[in-house]
C-alpha cells in the first residue's frame, strides 16, 4: 500500500495536464475540474484514513532505498494537511466559474490550480530536502502563473514583487540544501535528523538551520519578512488569493515544523527562542497591518500574518501541547483563510469595490454572507466554540506551561485586534442602511456564497467537534515530539 | 608526436593571446574586429588540432567533434565578424582616425539625400 503516498501528488498532476488539453472547452473543463477535485479529495481522505489506521506510509520512489532515492513519507501530519488542502481546493473549484472570467479559465486556470495542489501536496509528503525545494518550485511556479493570470496593470505590478521575493528565498533555499549536504552528506531528512543528533547540532548546523528557517519564514510571511505578502495577495482573483492564503504560507509553516521538530532540535535555546520573539513581532505587526486599511481584501491578507505568528509561537514553545495547538490552528486557519478570501472576493465581486468606505448595509442583500463573515471573525479571533479557539488555547496553554508569559499575552491582545479588524468589515459594511444602488444577481451571489459556507462549516465542525479531531492532532504532535518515529518509518526493515 | 602536439598548442595559445591583446590595444571596433576574426581562427585551430592529435595519437580516441567544432568556427568566425561590423556601422559607430575615408557612410548618405549627390 505504500504507493498510496504518491497518489495525492499524481492525481492533481495528471488532472492538471489533462485539463490543459481541453483548455478551450470551458464548460467541459469546469465540470471535469469539479469531478477531478472531488476524486482527489476522496483519495486524500482515503490516504488520511489509511495512515490514521495503519501508521506512516513511506514510499521509496523508483524502488531506490532511502536515503539514496527520494522517499515520500506520508505521516499523519502530512496526510492531514494534504486532506485539508484538497478540501479547500474543492471549495475553490466550485467557486471559480462564478468568479473568474471565462478567458482566465481558458488560459489554463484549472491546470495551474491543480498543479498548485500538486506542489503543495508534494511539499507536505516528501521526505527529501532537495525534493522539497523542487516541490516548492512547482507550487511557486503555479502560484506565479495564477497571480499573473489576467495581466492587469496592478496585478502585474504586484506580482513582480511577489515573484522576486520568492525567487530570492528559493535561491537561498537551494544554497542551504547544499550547505547541509556538505556537513551531513545527505539530503534525506530522516538521515539528516540522525546525523545531526550524532554530532549534537554544532554551531554551524544551527547557523544553517537558522538560514533555512528564514527561507521558510519568508514563504510563511513571518516578521520581518512578510512585506511582500499583503498587497500581492489582493490583486489576483479571489480564488487564487484564497488558495495562496490557505496553502502557500502554510507550506512555509509546515516546513518550519518539519525541520525544527525533526532535524534541528538539539539547540533549542537559540532557534526556538528566536521563533518566539519573531512570533511576537509577527503577531503585533500583522494585527496592526490589518487595522491599517479600508480595503477588505487587504484586511484579510494582513490577517494571514498574525495567524502564522501563532503557529510559529507554538513551534517556538516546542512542547506537545503547543505543537498540537500549532497543528490544529494551522488546519483551522487554512480553511478559514480560504473562506475569508472567497468571502471578501464575493463581496467585492457583487458590490464592485473592495473599499469598505463605499459599502453599507450589505446584510440586507447578503445576509448569509454577512453572518458567515461574522462567524469567521470569531474563528479568527479564537473565540470558542469555533476551531480557532482550540488551536490557540493549546498553543497558549503550552506557552504558560513553559513560562512564556509575555508571548501569550501578546497573543491574547493580538486576538482582540484581529477581531476588531474583521468586525470593522461587518459593522461598517454589513450594518447600516440598505444601499439601494446595489443590485444583486442572486444566482451568482448564491454560487459564491455556498463554497464559503462549506468551508466555514468545517471550521465550526473543527471547533465544536474538536473531540473527534483531537486524537489525530494529539498523535501528530506525539510523532513530532518523537522524531525517531519518523526516522524509523523511513528506515524500516 | 609529443612535440608536435605541444607546438600546436603553443601556437594556438599564442594566437589566442594575441587576439586579446589586439582587442585591448586597437582603437575602434573595426580594427578590433580584425584581430578577433583573424588571430582567433588560427588560435583555435592550433589548440583543436593539438587536442585532437593528443587524444587520437596518444590514446586512440577519435574526437570527431573537436574537428567538427573547429570547422564550424572557421566557417562562422568571418560571418560573425561581418555581421558585427555591419551592425556596428549601422548603429552609428564611426571608424577611428581623423578624416578617415568612409565610402559606406557616404553611400548611405547619398541614398538618403539623392539631391546631395553630384
Amino acid at each position: 500500500m505504500s504507493n498510496l503516498a504518491v497518489l495525492p501528488i499524481i492525481i492533481p498532476l495528471v488532472s492538471g495536464i489533462l485539463l490543459a488539453f481541453f483548455h478551450t472547452k470551458t464548460p467541459f473543463v469546469r465540470h471535469a475540474a469539479k469531478l477531478l477535485s472531488v476524486m482527489s479529495t476522496g483519495v486524500a481522505a482515503y490516504v488520511f484514513y489509511y495512515v490514521l489506521q495503519n501508521g506512516t506510509v513511506t514510499l521509496e520512489t523508483g524502488g531506490w532505498e532511502a536515503p539514496y532515492g527520494i522517499v515520500l513519507v506520508a505521516d499523519l501530519l502530512a496526510v492531514t494537511l494534504v486532506l485539508t488542502t484538497n478540501v479547500i481546493g474543492l471549495a475553490c473549484v466550485f467557486y471559480a466559474p462564478y468568479s473568474l472570467t471565462e478567458q482566465k479559465e481558458r488560459y489554463y486556470f484549472y491546470t495551474f490550480f491543480f498543479l498548485l495542489i500538486t506542489g503543495v501536496s508534494g511539499a507536505f509528503l516528501t521526505g527529501d530536502l532537495f525534493n522539497l525545494f523542487v516541490f516548492f518550485e512547482v507550487l511557486l511556479m503555479a502560484s506565479y502563473a495564477l497571480i499573473t493570470l489576467g495581466g492587469e496593470k496592478v496585478q502585474l505590478r504586484e506580482s513582480i514583487k511577489y515573484v522576486l521575493v520568492n525567487l530570492f528565498s528559493s535561491i537561498v533555499f537551494v544554497t542551504t540544501v547544499a550547505f547541509l549536504y556538505s556537513v551531513l552528506g545527505t539530503v534525506n531528512m530522516a538521515q539528516m535528523a540522525e546525523r545531526v543528533q550524532e554530532v549534537e547540532q554544532q554551531g554551524i548546523l544551527t547557523t544553517i538551520g537558522i538560514l533555512l528557517f528564514f527561507v521558510f519564514a519568508t514563504k510563511a510571511a513571518l516578521f520581518p519578512l512578510y512585506y511582500w505578502l499583503p498587497k500581492p495577495y489582493t490583486v489576483p482573483n479571489p480564488v487564487v488569493s484564497a488558495m495562496f492564503a490557505a496553502l502557500l504560507t502554510k507550506v512555509g509553516v509546515y516546513s518550519i515544523i518539519r525541520m525544527f521538530t525533526l532535524v534541528f532540535i538539539h539547540d533549542t535555546t537559540v532557534t526556538h527562542e528566536l521563533f518566539i520573539w519573531i512570533a511576537g513581532f509577527t503577531l503585533v505587526f500583522g494585527a496592526i497591518g490589518a487595522l491599517s486599511t479600508n480595503n477588505i481584501k487587504l484586511i484579510i491578507a494582513y490577517n494571514i500574518i498574525p495567524a502564522v505568528g501563532f503557529m510559529v509561537m507554538g513551534i517556538g514553545i516546542y512542547n506537545k501541547t503547543a505543537l498540537s495547538g500549532s497543528v490544529y490552528y494551522m488546519i483551522s486557519d487554512m480553511i478559514i483563510k480560504a473562506a475569508l478570501f472567497l468571502l471578501a472576493g464575493a463581496v467585492a465581486h457583487i458590490v464592485g469595490t473592495s473599499d469598505l468606505r463605499k459599502m453599507k448595509g450589505l446584510i440586507h442583500q447578503l445576509p448569509l454572507l454577512g453572518w458567515l463573515l461574522f462567524i469567521s471573525a470569531f474563528v479568527l479571533a479564537g473565540v470558542p466554540p469555533f476551531s480557532g479557539f482550540i488551536g490557540k488555547l493549546m498553543i497558549m496553554q503550552g506557552g504558560f506551561a513553559d513560562g512564556e508569559v509575555a508571548i501569550v499575552i501578546i497573543g491574547l491582545l493580538s486576538s482582540l485586534l484581529i477581531l476588531y479588524s474583521i468586525m470593522k468589515i461587518f459593522v461598517r459594511g454589513f450594518w447600516g442602511e440598505k444601499d439601494e444602488n446595489i443590485t444583486i444577481d442572486r444566482k451568482t451571489a448564491n454560487a459564491l456564497t455556498w463554497p464559503v459556507a462549506f468551508l466555514v462549516f468545517f471550521t465550526v465542525l473543527l471547533g465544536i467537534g474538536a473531540e473527534m479531531f483531537y486524537p489525530v492532532v494529539d498523535e501528530i504532535s506525539n510523532q513530532l515530539m518523537n522524531p525517531e518515529i519518523y526516522i524509523d518509518s523511513v528506515f524500516k526493515e | 608526436m609529443d612535440i608536435l602536439i605541444s607546438i600546436c598548442l603553443l601556437v594556438g595559445t599564442f594566437f589566442i593571446f594575441s587576439t586579446s591583446i589586439g582587442l585591448l590595444r586597437f582603437p575602434d571596433v573595426y580594427t578590433r574586429m580584425h584581430a578577433a576574426t583573424k588571430a582567433s581562427t588560427l588560435g583555435i585551430a592550433g589548440i583543436m588540432i593539438g587536442a585532437f592529435l593528443f587524444l587520437y595519437v596518444e590514446h586512440g580516441i577519435f574526437s570527431g567533434k573537436l574537428i567538427l567544432g573547429l570547422l564550424f568556427v572557421l566557417l562562422t568566425v568571418p560571418v560573425s565578424g561581418h555581421m558585427i561590423s555591419r551592425a556596428a556601422h549601422r548603429s552609428g559607430v564611426k571608424p577611428w582616425g581623423d578624416k578617415v575615408r568612409d565610402d559606406y557612410t557616404e553611400a548611405i548618405r547619398a541614398k538618403e539625400n539623392p539631391d546631395h549627390m553630384k
Partner: protein
C-alpha cells in the same frame, strides 16, 4: 547533385549490409567504393560527377588556409608593434558575383585576407564595403585577391 550524394550513401549502406559490419569504418569504405562506382558510371548519370566539384572546393579551401595563415601573421605583427601603425578606412569593392551565397562566401574570404574586413554589401549586391587596416596599401592587393577568390568561387558554384 543531391541525387548523387544520396546514391553514394546508399551504396555505402549496402556495403555495410553486405559486409555485415555496422561501423563507421565500414561505412567509410563503402562510401569510397561508391565514389569509385559513380566515377565509373559517370556517363549514365545526369549532371557532372560531384566529386569534381569537391575537388574544387578543396582547392578553394587550400587557398583559404593560405590566406588565413598569412592574415594571422600580419595581424599578430600589428598587435605587438609598439606603435600603433595603422591607417584604417572603409572602401567599396565592386563584385560580379550575384547570389547571396556567393557574396557571403566572398565577403568571408575577404575578411580572412590580411588587413581587410568586409563590413557590408550594398543593396543591389554590386559592392562590398571593406574595412582595411592600411587603406592605401592594401587596396590593390585586395583587388588581386578578390579576382582570384571570385574565380575560385565561381568555379565552385557555377
Amino acid at each position: 547533385m543531391p541525387f548523387q550524394i544520396l546514391l553514394n550513401i546508399l551504396i555505402a549502406v549496402m556495403w555495410m549490409f553486405m559486409s555485415e559490419s555496422y561501423t563507421f569504418s565500414t561505412f567509410f569504405g563503402g562510401y569510397l567504393i561508391g565514389i569509385l562506382l559513380l566515377l565509373v558510371l559517370q556517363r549514365f548519370i545526369p549532371d557532372a560527377f560531384y566529386m569534381q566539384r569537391v575537388v574544387k572546393v578543396l582547392k578553394l579551401m587550400l587557398l583559404f588556409t593560405k590566406e588565413l595563415i598569412l592574415s594571422n601573421l600580419q595581424i599578430v605583427k600589428l598587435v605587438y608593434k609598439p606603435k600603433l601603425d595603422i591607417t584604417p578606412g572603409i572602401f567599396a569593392l565592386p563584385t560580379e558575383l550575384k547570389s547571396d551565397w556567393e557574396i557571403t562566401l566572398l565577403a568571408n574570404l575577404i575578411s580572412l585576407t590580411p588587413g581587410t574586413l568586409s563590413i557590408a554589401v550594398s543593396d543591389d549586391n554590386s559592392l562590398i564595403y571593406i574595412h582595411a587596416m592600411h587603406i592605401d596599401d592594401t587596396q590593390e592587393s585586395i583587388q588581386e585577391i578578390k579576382d582570384s577568390f571570385e574565380k575560385a568561387i565561381m568555379e565552385v558554384t557555377r
